[in-house]
Subunit: 613 residues, 2 copies
């Protein structure tokens, strides 16, 4: 397997376009809370993170896949080179860009952190799982821990001395978190004895950090059933002494690691807590039964990260297929007819290869734009907090609305784009010599973990559409309508903008259908149709953002020489937006029609009729 | 990994429905050319092949995946147990069901062979590759070889004493078969010296048979460029003595085997012919430059087999997910609201799980019906040959028309259904403990080999639609119209039938658009839209067949007790047809609209605009 073939690639020009030309990150820089950050710093960081991804984490991607994480004598060994990459990541500060300065972070906008995360995840998803879960765990303590807990854990976890995990899932319960049976018994000294089994714990153990701090959902003896009785505990693999130094091992056992379709370099662990009655944990914060509320508050960030993994895998697969399509010569031009003497051409000249490439480009740039839109709402909410609470609330509302869209749609697209990338290569794409097939295998999990994509759809249909009396969706649709109105007569984009307006109308129709079901207390059709409803919103959101970006690009082109690098870049934005609007948005109308038929066949078919086996 | 979890499952009741209730195989049995076959024999064979698949080939599926084929000292070793399964397969006669009695076959309808192939492929795709390529190679000699060649090779290859391969692809040429550079030089003694390299040769070497007979496309010195100058050669791994016994090794070297995303148990070989100038082959038949014509004639059968692999992988993944959904308890019923005391239910009770299950069922039963429809046309064409040549030609025309639809659509659906199966499991589906993820990995290659799915679409749009002055497509549409007319008022299916009529109208519109492009000599838009056109035809074909089957099922239900096993089975047919028509067919109209917009964005985007890297 040649190094060149596996070289990780990213399109930094596109990232800069999103940050500075479309989403106006510059407005937020140079003033609190981002006073230390200017455009040059942001660009420099992206350049350097990209270099790290190409030189450090990227070359370990195929190694991690073939070697996998291994369980040796009860301890997980990360794949070769991962520990070095971990050390370099934290030394450079790329994992803690947006973390609080108080704990060793750099106070950057989350939008920058998220694009850095994309580059690292795109170069090596399995590796990036370890630090990202660690940051997620640390931020729970930052937000909800006591002062003493923050002082003990946060800097060490944010700077990578210690690692962290999130322990929610149990063998019998799966997505039904409220069915959690892990028990916490007060010891009378402020600690709790923890007893139970957790599964699917990413980075549940490894040898890259001195300690692993588990954030464990458990039920204190006598607490209510369901999610409301859950509390969150800090359970370190190695207990801490009074002075905060490492002490005795805690009773946390890695019972097994899973063998999976992908992300093989990421250790997916089965953890047993307290099998020998010696597992002690601390309640996170000082109040019991707050576990689900705490988890929920942090879930947005975790779900954005997974959406970003989808973008990253799709982008990596796309750019590898693009490179292959430019280099691989095969067949003659369709314009040459059947002339056997016609020269062989790079496959990028074949219409169907171009269709696949533009399809991948449009989908990936679209979901990335959705992610940046989302994190910019977070950064703006943060910047406005205490200054203009109404505007801050608006931005926070859009965050809440967009999270399920981004998590679901970006992960579905990441998998689909990776599969298209394989197809673009032809037979070579099925080989492990090229990165597309690993991207595809890795990406399948994104639609499942951190809340399956159906759970996201339920969050949208069952909760977000109704939140604040429907204000979030009204604000969302106003943005769509704003663009559709402003650009209806655009010289190059009008056909795409007309499709956007039609999609908006289709959404309106679907909201009416959902409203009708709400009034008639219909409980089965909303979940049955939820995935489609989510897709409709996500596709409309993506088209809106692509067309908005294309309109900006078109403006810029006016003053540029045709054929110049910048002119060509902007032309790509225009074509991608048109492609997406004309080829994907008609599906939004089609879905609205399907939803309106209220087909109940999946509900009506008898269980025994699914198959005679 | 427990044996129980990996148990292969198939729905034989569904296969019997297709054969005897929907497609009337009974009409053909008991008379030439199937005089030895009656319904009981057919059913018995399916039962026994299923037993073989469950007990012999199925248990080797995960082993083949994890162990893979290995290249040891220049010889390929098949995974453990494969040689035993090979011997039992041929001893039982399941691979040679439809082969000529003259060569040890059983003269069964191809329809039966193809369903047997589905069962074996579904239980272990990698294993089934070896005998199926062997049969394909043997049938080339049966059809085109000289009498002496048929006598020497055919029985041994059809009965599994020797294996066979198809050697088309070359490293630089890929799908562009006409760019073949393997050379054949006449030796003056009737043999040719073969020199060249071939890649992606499935079963290119292994240790399950005494010899491997390669069917090699090569160009005789001085032959024209392009496909017209190609000839087909019989190149055994071990040369034959005058008396037909095995002699000296031929100069055929296995240079490497590929490491792949899936079908790891199938050895995908790079073969070098004549590196030491000692590779001798025989021209297949007695006429030069017939290679591409010979290959084309056999291609239908090979493409049907790949479509069947798609059906098989999808069906296997679906039934494994169904079993899991029936057994796995998680969460409470949506009808119970948020009551934490509500009982846990099997996940099959959740609406979105039911949606995924019915989606998989409808797609898989639909593409299987398309495959049976296709092979029945082949069997009918054969039965009518020489008796009613006009009807025989009609059936052969439908074969030619349906092959690209079945190869492409069944393989795309197989992959998609396997991915849906993973999602149905949730996190467990991503684990190697369950078969869904292997089905998904194995299935990705089906859309690529035996002519990529885009090549199928070009075959449809560039060739089949125009063949015989458009008679094939006219006959196809007449079948759709016939059903749409006959069942328009059906008490339960009318809504689905209305969608079918709308899809038919959309096809008519698209044919007009294509006709317009033909008149204006537009060469780029037809290939750009070809995949969509193929999908529209395939979805319409599948809906027609599902609705036809549902109408038959509905008739049968009238005389049955509600809740009985048979009543329940037939109700499943009705619901699957309704689901497919109401949830998939609206996409046909949407695609027609998209095609009509003639969006040229993939053609117009400059090469440099795909990305700035």
């Amino acid at each position: 397997m040649s190094q060149a073939v596996n070289r990780y690639r990213a399109d930094l020009r596109e990232l800069q376009f999103l940050l500075f030309e479309q989403f106006g990150l510059g407005d937020l820089l140079g003033q609190p809370p981002f006073a230390d950050w200017g455009p040059d710093e942001v660009k420099l960081v992206l350049d350097e993170v990209y270099r790290y991804a190409c030189e450090v984490s990227g070359p370990l991607n195929a190694i991690g896949d073939s070697q996998g994480a291994r369980l040796v004598d009860g301890q997980v060994k990360a794949p070769a080179g991962f520990a070095d990459a971990w050390a370099k990541l934290y030394e450079a500060g790329w994992q803690q860009l947006s973390s609080e300065a108080e704990f060793g972070g750099q106070g950057a906008p989350l939008t920058l952190q998220n694009l850095a995360d994309e580059l690292i995840s795109g170069s090596n998803t399995s590796f990036q799982m370890y630090p990202s879960l660690t940051t997620g765990a640390a931020e729970l303590i930052v937000s909800f821990g006591t002062d003493a807990q923050r002082a003990r854990f946060c800097e060490k976890m944010i700077c990578g001395t210690w690692a962290g995990t999130m322990c929610l899932t149990e063998p019998h319960a799966g997505s039904d978190v409220g069915d959690c049976t892990t028990a916490a018994t007060p010891n009378g000294d402020g600690t709790y004895s923890i007893k139970g089994a957790k599964i699917f714990i990413s980075g549940g153990d490894h040898d890259m950090a001195e300690n692993v701090v588990h954030m464990v959902l458990a039920r204190i003896d006598g607490a209510p059933k369901g999610t409301k009785g859950l509390s969150l505990f800090i359970v370190p693999k190695v207990r801490l002494n009074e002075d905060g130094s490492l002490g005795e091992p805690n009773d946390v056992e890695t019972a097994a690691i899973e063998h999976k379709m992908g992300i093989n370099g990421s250790a997916t662990c089965q953890l047993n807590f307290g099998d020998n009655d010696g597992c002690r944990g601390l309640l996170c914060g000082s109040e019991e039964h707050q576990g689900i509320r705490q988890m929920f508050q942090m879930m947005n960030r975790a779900r954005i990260l997974v959406g970003t993994q989808g973008v990253a895998a799709g982008a990596g697969a796309y750019l590898s297929a693009l490179e292959y399509a430019r280099e691989r010569k095969q067949g003659s031009s369709v314009k040459a007819g059947r002339d056997p003497d016609a020269p062989r051409v790079p496959i990028i000249e074949h219409p169907d290869v171009r269709r696949m490439l533009l399809d991948m480009k449009a989908r990936i740039e679209g979901v990335r734009a959705l992610g940046v839109c989302l994190t910019m709402h977070m950064d703006r909410a943060r910047a406005l907090a205490g200054k203009d609470d109404q505007r801050a609330a608006y931005h926070q509302g859009q965050v809440d609305f967009l999270v399920p869209l981004f998590k679901s749609y970006a992960t579905d697209q990441g998998f689909q784009v990776a599969a298209t990338a394989i197809q673009t290569y032809g037979g070579a794409g099925f080989l492990r010599d090229h990165p597309a097939e690993q991207y595809c295998r890795d990406a399948k999990i994104f639609s499942i973990y951190e809340g399956t994509n159906h759970i996201q759809a339920l969050d949208l249909v069952g909760r977000k559409l109704r939140l604040h009396g429907g204000q979030l969706v009204a604000d969302f649709l106003a943005e769509v309508e704003g663009l559709a109105g402003a650009q209806a007569e655009h010289p190059r984009l009008s056909a795409g903008v007309a499709e956007l307006a039609a999609a908006q109308a289709a959404l309106g129709k679907t909201l009416q259908v959902l409203g009708g079901w709400g009034q008639s207390r219909e409980v089965e059709l909303p979940p049955l149709m939820a995935n489609r409803v989510l897709e409709m919103f996500a596709e409309t959101a993506v088209a809106r953002l692509l067309l908005e970006g294309a309109a900006i690009a078109h403006e810029e082109m006016g003053s540029l020489e045709a054929g110049s690098a910048e002119h060509t870049f902007y032309e790509g934005k225009v074509q991608a937006a048109l492609y997406y609007a004309l080829n994907v948005l008609p599906g939004v109308r089609s879905k609205a029609d399907i939803i309106a038929t209220a087909d109940r066949s999946p509900l009506e078919i008898p269980d025994g009729a699914f198959a005679t086996v």
